[in-house]
Symmetry: D2
Subunit: 352 residues, 4 copies
């Protein structure tokens, strides 16, 4: 209910501000006797860590996870798992100067309006740093999915107007942008460099494929699988759209085109994106999300201070040019959490 928890049976609660002591997550409902080590979690944290390449912010986040509870002799015990990641290499100086100014495109104005107080350092709770807790928790969800042979694959299909023209799964892990088209990845690199020089930022589109999901997950009528997936990814800062299967294209399709025929081997195409009536059908689940440009641009911006007096703002500090590719493991984490939760929910009522 507090807005910082997500999931039902598999439930995560995250906490922490960008420039506070630490960030973390508590995971409830993880089944007992699943093998879990800090390496399992570290691996995912390393995928979202900054400073790995181009277009990326130079802040050094070591992001070493500590497992404080819920694991005994390498196995989960069924009790809550508390994860802690210290905040390191923090420099709040650039934020002191602008602590009374609302940065455009950021949550400064809305947090002030809602709470009447805000930790302005590094964006506080509204910082992308918050996603560390999601990724750490998602790593545990992925362990549950692994047991059921469910895998999640996410990649960049568009960045700054450059689109992947082909989907080569082999290519994804080979380039910085996790783009399944090598040529597009090269063009994205150039685009990022060019925009970075001007102090501007870029948006893009991601695609996520969930493989191996059994039929039967999803709880109509409100906790439909696509509804929970949509909420999961839309709760990530900077996501402005989400679609499933054919997505917005359905608006121009006929029913006779959109329906997926069934044959003895199952569904013969997959415009449904693997979900019908809110329940998985055993096909691949396909989700696409739109990522807005990072609002921290190094250009003059028109805005106001807390007294609504006009200000010309020029942000300093360290920021990425695009939330892509670092947002990819965050999207995967949210999908993993939704699926782990629905797996457990289905077990509760499931056929024996």
């Amino acid at each position: 209910m507090g807005g910082n928890s997500f999931g039902n049976l598999f439930r995560i609660t995250t906490w922490g501000e960008s420039h506070g002591e630490a960030v973390g997550a508590v995971i409830e409902g993880c089944p007992p006797r699943i093998s879990l080590s800090s390496e399992d979690i570290q691996k995912e944290l390393d995928r979202r860590r900054p400073g790995q390449g181009m277009g990326s912010s130079p802040r050094k986040e070591g992001d070493r996870v500590e497992i404080l509870s819920g694991v005994f002799e390498g196995m989960t015990t069924g009790t809550p798992i508390s994860l802690l990641i210290k905040n390191e290499d923090i420099d709040s100086t650039p934020y002191e100067k602008i602590k009374d100014i609302f940065r455009p495109g950021q949550a400064d104005f809305s947090y002030q309006a809602k709470y009447g107080i805000r930790d302005y350092r590094g964006g506080g709770r509204a910082s992308a740093r918050e996603t560390v807790g999601r990724v750490a928790a998602g790593a545990i969800a992925k362990k549950i999915l692994e047991q059921e042979r469910i895998g999640i694959l996410a990649y960049t299909t568009e960045l700054g107007g450059i689109r992947a023209e082909r989907i080569d799964y082999e290519e994804i892990e080979k380039n910085f942008f996790r783009c399944p088209d090598r040529d597009a990845a090269l063009a994205m690199e150039k685009r990022i460099e060019e925009v970075k020089r001007r102090g501007d930022t870029l948006g893009g589109i991601l695609e996520m494929i969930i493989k191996g999901c059994p039929a039967g997950l999803g709880e109509p009528v409100f906790d439909k699988l696509e509804a929970d997936l949509a909420k999961g990814v839309m709760s990530i800062g900077g996501i402005r759209g989400v679609e499933v299967g054919a997505g917005f294209k359905v608006a121009r399709m006929l029913g006779s085109e959109c329906n997926d025929p069934l044959g003895p081997e199952g569904f013969e195409k997959n415009d449904s994106g693997g979900i019908l009536g809110g329940i998985s059908i055993g096909s691949e689940i396909l989700i696409r999300v739109a990522v807005k440009p990072i609002p921290s641009i190094f250009m003059e911006q028109k805005t106001v201070d807390h007294s609504m007096r006009p200000v010309v703002l020029r942000i300093e500090g360290r920021h990425d040019v695009s939330a892509i590719p670092r947002i990819i493991p965050v999207c995967e984490a949210m999908a993993a959490i939704v699926l782990a939760d629905h797996l457990l929910r289905q077990k509760a009522i499931g056929r024996r």
Copy 2:
């Protein structure tokens, strides 16, 4: 937790199958001493009722709501409000013949996979009839919003490839499609007739504007306002995509374009769609959703029966050509429920 409840402080639980006795909703958490009559609810139900015009299914649903509890002498009492709408004019005969066949694009396969049993008559719980409960509950949410002068306006921007080229609010209630462009509405009419003749169906796009929403609604980091709105609309059958503000267009915007500058009067444009950091900013909230074509087409379709044996299916019965415009009050209802819930949540922690 059961998947048939939605909301936290303002919480609805819906129930009912298409060809069962009745459908209904229980509304918890409605504040006391709000004036409420069955007419308030009937008005909204009438907006989603079939048989009102072209492209619409001839099933006669009187859809008279009965308020069974929670209202005393015309006022809410703070106790749960139970609403019941009888199912009338039911003919299950067409479904008898196909009870062992999975209709493409429908939830037949997935319900069978999940529950191992399904009420095949009229699609059972997976029928659009289920949305009656949402609309009835949404009417009560709207009463709460009225008190705060928050209004929701939804309209069709695209149907079967025909797009509204202009947004004339005055026009919306004047045509069947609730399309804000009269010429587009006429073209949509023709498109529907033509497709109906072939037994096919159409998809489209809706837009929703929420006016008068105060700044401060939304509960980061998971129950962000756009996340709950996305879940709300994505939980409606047939919705395949949702976007907020600039939506998928953000993928091709620069940060310097996407950020909304602030002036002494507030935000100077609204690409954020009225939400920053998951919290409303006092601007109009803008949501767009993609509606897939109704899967019940009157053409031969390739499918299988419960034993996965090939079947050629030709559906009979009564069906709309498009979920638009009847899905409009359903989308509005879900948005109203999300907003009423967040209003109450903000009151709980709110500034005094």
Copy 3:
């Protein structure tokens, strides 16, 4: 969240006022393919129905349950089950005269303070009539427990100062008070008659035994089995105390007396009441509850009206002398709901 729902995976929402149209319940999370008929529910409703004997209110409640959804061809479908029981033989006249007076021991004052409005007819939502929904929902929970061979047995151990001196299970269903001691039952009958003549009312104590509960149910640290059972029964109007196993007697026990030794066949006594660390151990679960006298006495009472002006009140109408024995099936229902919920929760994380 609204206070009218109970349970997590097996979740009930009840609604309805004493003199409104009807009372009812919506049950979410009932597993599919459990055989369920209205007789299964009627049987339990008949056990709590008034007018069955001595000390009982003459209001004629037919209490015929209607199953409106969630059951198809005699089997649950996994969709929400909506139950409706009409309110019949209502006479609100006696309440008109006292609508501005707070009856002592009743919820009149507190509802007015909380909501600023109340349906004064028959006590509105605060009436014992509300428990009809609990009993109806509990009947479904019992069907789930039956499948696992879990049974609940409740009986009167004390009424108006008369105590059962022996526990003869065979006797329970043979007397009106469901008292396991025939002699005590006869004494209780006399006590009731005597007190009724004076217009006064009586309290008592119930005991509940849950048989066949497997080890492993309960979710520490907050949703311990005894914690949920305590909440379940304490939420019933008129219950003022609850204890598990040795209960309040533990205050005077030594650790060496209180601990239950274990032998090869399991626990060798049961002072724990079948629960250790919040989790069932496979022994019988034992709960005891204190029931206060019904506050509707036919004697002059000192009280005030809505303006806090003194009034001497003499209640008219129809009322039982004791909530016992009609509260017994209500207690059983709450226990059944708690157990069904925890059974499903354990299945979700359970050992395979």
Copy 4:
């Protein structure tokens, strides 16, 4: 849902095992701009810390709380508050020898049955050490209550058969047992010493009074104030009974005795314990709980190992003789959390 969270709007999640790295709590829903320092929390932790006097375990728990998030410049920000308390002075050696043995009266058997794995060191999650998180979170709830001038006072009324014969509030903080009767406190001291010599342990009874609670808190019909209070305290390890107001005495009262008459100044006595119909009435709220003897006795006990083979067990290690008085701040914490939660819930729907 995971069993390690409690509350709705004010919601706590605790984590941690007795001999793990640390224990802690995450608090969601604390309103913004409440002054909060680590001293506020430390003060309460110090009240439950061991090693303070007689009958108390010699384990040295420094129990220094660290606030990791949610507080900025001494004020809450509305974001989740993460609290961490390291586990210090741990010696797991005594537990190594008995890791395959079920200690009577403990949760060893039930955790093994439920999860198939358990952290046997110091009782793991089932240890009283778990209550550190409750007390820390309760300290924050108390800050909210302070703002509304609500106070909680708990004290010992019975220990090892010695009963307080008078209630002198001034005396409570002056003796080790927080007993409101100085003579009884002296007798309790002797009783503890005597029993300690034999290696045995003692139970007792606590009373809690909530002062200053406004009328209107509580959410019928399931989240009644006494139901949530009952759940809150019954979820604490070792509590076996709870009663409100006259409690189990109601069983022998007449309605004419039990009803509290109302006069122009309000209720003229308080057998209701300050709650009617599940809602506070503005009078003092009175709760009484039964605490069982600590099961860790230093005497030979009959039990079995994991293979259900008979074993004679003699426990070593460090343990209190009675959970009293250290359980007192834990009970207060749970009551504070329930009240803070209901305060916020009432604000959400409250009269303006």
